[in-house]
Symmetry: C2
């Protein structure tokens, strides 16, 4: 199969490396000459270019750019493609991307490989990055079953956990487990900073240990990424935030009422339920 990859960062580069090692012909496009050179030298791709014309013969193209560039990239890519070429992406929110890109190209299928490390760029490319990790595909009622089938077959060769669902289902699920936690966790850090007594704040900073470290981790993460998630998944995130606020209000009420038995029931419920998310 001739596979095109646009964006040779951690995800795009790791996809390329995997499929090339399986014997597919992999063609990479990057905005950076240096990245193209590195990708060829390291055997990540068979060929690479800063020009989209390289992908004219591709059977499937994976758009692995930042989310904001996906639809624009599809638009620029279209004039160079065979009509039967499949385009798919790796963006972490699906509804707005699928809506925009399906209108541009009928053979578009949204995708989201949920693999990542703390590193970025072509230097972070990793063999086996997708193994055992979720890879979500999000066909709609207008997606041709053949497009989903072909893409799924290729994706399965990475040995991920494949999930197939509607874009909206994906976005609501990741709002719960990925985007809401960022806001919940950021709120924790920001609330602490509002402490008026400097002795208390100083001591709090000194005493903070693993509990605070873990709860605050994603709230202290990449600000651009957090903002972009909120922007693309705004409606679903707001739904989860609204529910979270209600739940928090209930916990506050229970503590105000000193209903310790009820508080313990809440904490037993969360203690037991957490296992299902692991």
């Amino acid at each position: 199969m001739k596979i095109g990859i646009i964006g040779l960062g951690l995800i795009g580069g790791s996809l390329a490396l995997e499929w090339r090692s399986q014997g597919h012909q992999v063609l990479g496009v990057s905005r950076s000459d240096i990245t193209c050179q590195k990708a060829i030298e390291r055997g990540i791709v068979d060929d690479a270019s800063v020009r989209l014309t390289l992908l004219a013969a591709a059977d499937i193209v994976f758009i692995c750019t930042p989310m904001a560039a996906i639809a624009a990239t599809v638009k620029q890519l279209i004039p160079h493609l065979k009509p039967e070429t499949i385009i798919t992406d790796v963006g972490s929110v699906k509804t707005p991307i699928v809506e925009a890109c399906s209108q541009l190209w009928p053979n578009f299928l949204g995708g989201h490989p949920m693999a990542g490390t703390q590193y970025q760029g072509i230097d972070a490319v990793e063999k086996g990055l997708f193994e055992g990790r979720p890879y979500v595909l999000t066909p709609t009622e207008t997606t041709s079953p053949a497009v989903t089938k072909q893409t799924e077959a290729l994706v399965r060769s990475l040995n991920p956990q494949v999930y197939i669902c509607r874009p909206e289902t994906h976005d609501q699920a990741v709002a719960w487990i990925s985007h809401l936690p960022v806001m919940v966790s950021a709120g924790l850090i920001e609330a602490c900073l509002q402490e008026k007594n400097p002795d208390v704040l100083k001591l709090a900073k000194a005493l903070a240990s693993s509990g605070f470290r873990d709860t605050s981790r994603v709230g202290g993460g990449n600000p651009e990424l957090g903002t972009m998630m909120a922007q693309y998944n705004r409606n679903q995130l707001l739904k989860t935030l609204s529910q979270y606020r209600q739940t928090l209000d209930q916990l506050i009420e229970v503590i105000q009422q000193e209903d310790w038995q009820k508080l313990q029931q809440h904490l037993e419920q969360t203690h037991n339920a957490r296992k299902d998310f692991m």
Copy 2:
């Protein structure tokens, strides 16, 4: 020095082991005969008993029982002690304990060694447990400086980070970095469970990874412990929850208004501030 330890669990046993290895005479009291036997056999203490009379000659007694038992233990202990004996405790909330125990025994000083592992009981006893970890002492205006000085000297031999502050300052600080995170994190798990669409909830559970795992960890912890913290530190916890709720409302508003620049400023602030808590 003759050191008494009541409660030979992870904290009490580890304190005993440390000081005995420094040449102090360490006397342990536990409700359990088997624990007393283990403590002697393993060289954790010089002698152990289920009876408080063992501590008649102690210069200082560390009460390492669960928080709910501390004041009652002091009351039972008093008839057996020399008047100059210092009593201190290791409870994780200080104001209510210090208030109750100072009235019972003038030479009482509150303490909180912030060391722990995921294990409990005498089998979890660990050498070096307190090294580099915070150990907070909380004298009040009625505490004799000599009591604080002697206790501090002994505690410093564990090589911890010693902090000396008022009980209220300690409690407000731990509300921020320890008790608030439990509620914030429990709220996250509980809110997810309110998702009405079973497909979304199932997918959310399947896709949850390190971000959700870390943010939900302390909220899925020991329910009895979480309830006890809230009970003993109710007022300070409610203050932090009230501030947290305000901060969360501001984040929700910014997202509703689609003010992405402002959201990014918030996330940059939390990104930068988190380092100070590490």
